[in-house]
């Protein structure tokens, strides 16, 4: 099935939030902290502006609790007396004219008594920098399996390494934006978002009103990648506060520079490995420390850390594993959800470390993986026994075959011996990604989906899971068509409007097709049973039965329902962090072939092969698009996208000098799927959206190492870093990445 909204997007008819024409609408703007940390002394409104023309909102206008409701309640909607990061929202303004707003924002002077900020998450804070608990640790988590110290002490070889990854901006092509208005006592917000019900929760809390006076509607969303998971809740609240005070609709749209400067980014990381290995290369013990930069508030860092440590030991069988994870407070804008959600950081370190172990032992890195990859019946770091029918070694062998790994390696050694100015290398990464919420997360979400039979006989799928480019509308349509045997034209997907759709959970964690799609299938079954039909009934019979039901029940609603039920095989203990972390893992093996220019130190990716097992592929074109897009976004993180920080905020907050890949920076991405259907996923599918991000940076770094570009342990590998790697001849200190 082709993308159902594809032509609407190609013709430009699709309406995004800034395309909506709202009568009597004011523009909104945000006035922000000029300092990373301190106490607000005064706010001065310059006399060059006629302030009577403006709606001005501050923290005193918040009817409920001044916090953006999430895991903890520490992040204010608007700073009251203290600020904890540069650009923290302090005031809101609304006015009919955008240019007047810009001048007004510039005429406000927020005076702050500065306090010492924390600007580097890797350095222990001084006492005067403590802002959370007694150590600035936002979250501490630990996984233990076997006896790591004993195994390390007796291991024939111990290999250590420290690895770092930088922040990354999502660069969804549509910037953040919301429009809010109050109508008949209901505050309504429409805008760009992944999680309508997160915003409902945030509104109940901060606006102190019941759910039936809150209506959240997703407008067409121009990319999310996690950047529109938790962050839009704050913007929605800001737009709503302005609209409530002004008594008129307010549109709050971020320009690119504001969006990049203030929005969440991927968590920077520092990961240390100490690994015990026997002479043949078998992993005996993995001791891993993960530290993430959480930024100024807790937000989602505890769960990003959780996913990071669960993936940090890689897809390998090892009996003794200890993973210690901490998310640290710093005075940067909070880091947030971003495709992969901590896993790419953990896997970059792990997969680069595997190649370094191989080099130390004089073993082929491919062979090292062949020895250690999880076989059926082996267990992960949390003790999750893997028995899913996927052939992890086979996935790797296929990637090697498709990329011509051995032949290329031989060609490169000839090339590198003869070419004066270029070096080539090929690198591999094997990895996995757990789909859906971690551990018992899906149980807590308690997602619900409705499938309605409409009076005219059509089917309407109602979920809160949004289309943001990944293909949710198409996959839901396809699942309903397949399940009910009706024509695609007779399936409609309800708008993600909380006055219509039940809470089927957030559009995150690669859960939409696998988990919510499964609920769509079951709600279809329930609808069919409600109208008295058996599973063998065809679409024609169903359409007739729906019409007949409505004739017999005029004015009533015909709903099939489904609520999440945890598959019986899943057992998880949140206290000990042991058990089945995910219902299913998707598996991948990626190969990058790179060339580095010894004059410019620019890296060219000559070829990229992505082989993965994602359960059943529901839609080949959409699935390929997810992999190719994820790989290219991760190539940006690996090679180009450097966040430059000053005083805890992004200095290069514009696309002129924050460089994302263009058509010319990447090769065609060669994608192949292997299929081991997952019985609990919709149509046998596992999650797919985040997997492709995980294997790219380590494959590239391993390829660069193979090309003779030193021992890369930090991404992004910008030309400056590659130059340092190639030019520096001094021996490496294990502790310095």
């Amino acid at each position: 099935m082709k993308r159902v909204e594809g032509l609407s997007k190609l013709t430009g008819r699709e309406l995004y939030v800034d395309d909506l024409s709202v009568d009597g609408c004011l523009w909104g703007a945000t006035v922000r902290s000029p300092f990373p940390r301190g106490r607000i002394r005064s706010i001065r409104f310059g006399d060059s502006v006629d302030w009577s023309e403006f709606t001005v909102v501050d923290h005193r206008d918040i009817p409920g609790s001044n916090s953006v409701f999430l895991i903890e309640e520490d992040q204010p909607v608007l700073a009251a007396d203290r600020v904890r990061h540069l650009h923290e929202p302090v005031l809101l303004l609304a006015h009919p004219d955008r240019e007047s707003l810009r001048r007004a924002v510039a005429a406000i002077d927020i005076e702050v008594d500065s306090e010492p900020p924390v600007l580097d998450f890797r350095i222990s804070p001084r006492p005067d920098q403590i802002q959370y608990g007694n150590d600035n640790v936002l979250k501490h988590l630990r996984i233990e399996k076997g006896e790591v110290e004993r195994a390390l002490a007796t291991a024939p070889h111990m290999i250590e390494g420290v690895y770092e990854t930088g922040a990354q901006e999502h660069v969804y092509l549509e910037t953040q934006g919301m429009v809010a208005w109050e109508e008949d006592g209901v505050i309504t917000v429409t805008g760009s978002m992944q999680c309508p019900y997160y915003i409902v929760d945030a509104f109940k809390h901060a606006l102190d009103r019941p759910e039936d006076r809150i209506r959240i509607i997703q407008s067409a969303t121009g990319g999310g990648f996690g950047g529109k998971e938790e962050f839009p809740s704050g913007i929605a609240l800001h737009a709503a506060l302005l609209a409530l005070k002004a008594g008129r609709p307010v549109k709050l749209i971020y320009e690119r520079s504001e969006d990049m400067a203030v929005s969440t980014k991927r968590h920077p990381s520092r990961v240390r490995h100490r690994t015990g290995v026997d002479a043949d290369g078998r992993l005996l013990a993995q001791d891993i420390e993960v530290v993430l930069d959480g930024g100024a508030y807790v937000t989602l860092s505890p769960v990003v850390l959780s996913r990071s440590i669960i993936h940090a030991a890689g897809p390998y069988a090892c009996e003794n594993v200890r993973i210690d994870g901490r998310a640290m407070l710093t005075n940067s804008p909070p880091f947030g959800a971003f495709r992969g959600f901590g896993a790419p950081q953990g896997l970059f370190a792990c997969e680069r470390h595997m190649d370094r172990i191989a080099a130390r032992l004089g073993i082929d890195p491919v062979e090292l993986r062949r020895i250690n990859l999880i076989r059926e019946g082996d267990s992960t770091a949390t003790g999750q026994v893997i028995r899913d029918g996927a052939d992890r070694v086979g996935i790797m062998e296929r990637a090697l075959e498709l990329s011509g790994f051995d032949e290329r390696r031989a060609e490169h050694s000839v090339f590198n011996a003869t070419d004066q100015t270029r070096r080539r290398g090929i690198g591999l990464a094997t990895f996995f990604h757990g789909a859906g919420f971690t551990g018992s997360g899906e149980v807590f979400l308690d997602s619900e989906v409705h499938v309605a039979g409409l009076p005219d006989g059509r089917i309407e799928v109602r979920t809160a899971n949004v289309e943001m480019g990944q293909g949710a509308l198409t996959v839901f349509t396809q699942l309903a068509v397949d399940r009910l045997g009706v024509a695609p034209e007779s399936v409609v997907i309800a708008p993600a409007d909380t006055s219509i759709v039940p809470n089927s959970g957030p559009t995150v964690a690669s859960r939409t097709a696998m988990v919510v799609g499964g609920l769509v299938e079951r709600a279809c079954d329930d609808l069919r049973e409600t109208v008295g039909l058996g599973a063998d009934a065809d679409g024609v019979a169903l359409t007739a039965a729906i019409r007949a039901w409505h004739a017999a029940h005029p004015g009533e609603e015909l709903l099939g329902r489904a609520r999440y039920r945890q598959p019986e095989h899943i057992e998880w203990d949140d206290e000990s962090y042991r058990g089945d972390a995910y219902g299913a893992f998707a598996w991948g093996a990626y190969v990058a072939d790179v060339e580095v220019d010894l004059r410019t130190f620019a890296v060219t990716v000559r070829d990229f092969v992505a082989v993965q097992e994602i359960g059943r592929v529901l839609n080949e074109t959409l699935a390929r698009g997810q992999i190719q897009g994820g790989v290219v976004q991760a190539l940006g993180w690996a090679l180009l996208e450097e966040c430059k920080w000053r005083d805890g905020a992004l200095e290069n907050a514009q696309l002129t000098n924050y460089i994302i890949p263009t058509t010319r920076d990447v090769p065609p991405i060669r994608v192949e799927f292997l299929e081991a259907p997952y019985p609990h996923g919709a149509g046998g599918a596992k999650g797919i959206g985040e997997l492709p991000f995980d294997g790219v940076a380590p494959a590239v770094a391993n390829a660069l190492a193979a090309a003779g570009a030193g021992d890369p342990r930090v991404v992004p590998l910008t030309p400056e870093r590659v130059m340092d790697l190639i030019m520096s001849s001094s021996p490496r200190d294990e502790d310095s990445p």
């Binding site: 993308r3 696309l655 058509t663």
Partner: protein, 161 residues
Amino acid sequence: MNDDRMLDIQLTLNGKRISVRVDEGERLLDLLRYGLGLTGTKEGCGEGECGACTVLLDGLPVNSCLIPAWQARDREIETVEAVPETELSSLHESGATQCGACTPGVVMTAWWVRRNRDVTESHTLRQLMAGNLCRCTGYDGIIEGLEAWLAETSGDREEVS
């Protein structure tokens, strides 16, 4: 608005001659989106980096965020709204659009390539499309869709399947 900053201009927009009053500091992008309600053209960065706002000015692709509206005086502007839906099947089938925010700009550059095929003799499609940033597709869906579009002879498709 201050009247002495306003200019009356005429231009041809999607084949129609129109008269409009524009502010001397107004961007062509804003005239199209807010002044004329043609919201197909998107703003991605506002500084000529991303290409989401690409329109054709006298037949050549430009970033409408970098063009003052008054510069459209007596010239011909084409936006995504002018591209017939029947032309877009190849891009639809290949997965050239995901979130859709870059798509109108991609379509306009591709439409220009399609109507000026000789540019493909001197440039690769990846060179020609390098001015349009896309964060979703990884570009393969776009390049493959454009290849297929170029392979179609005009009028190949009477209707969209």
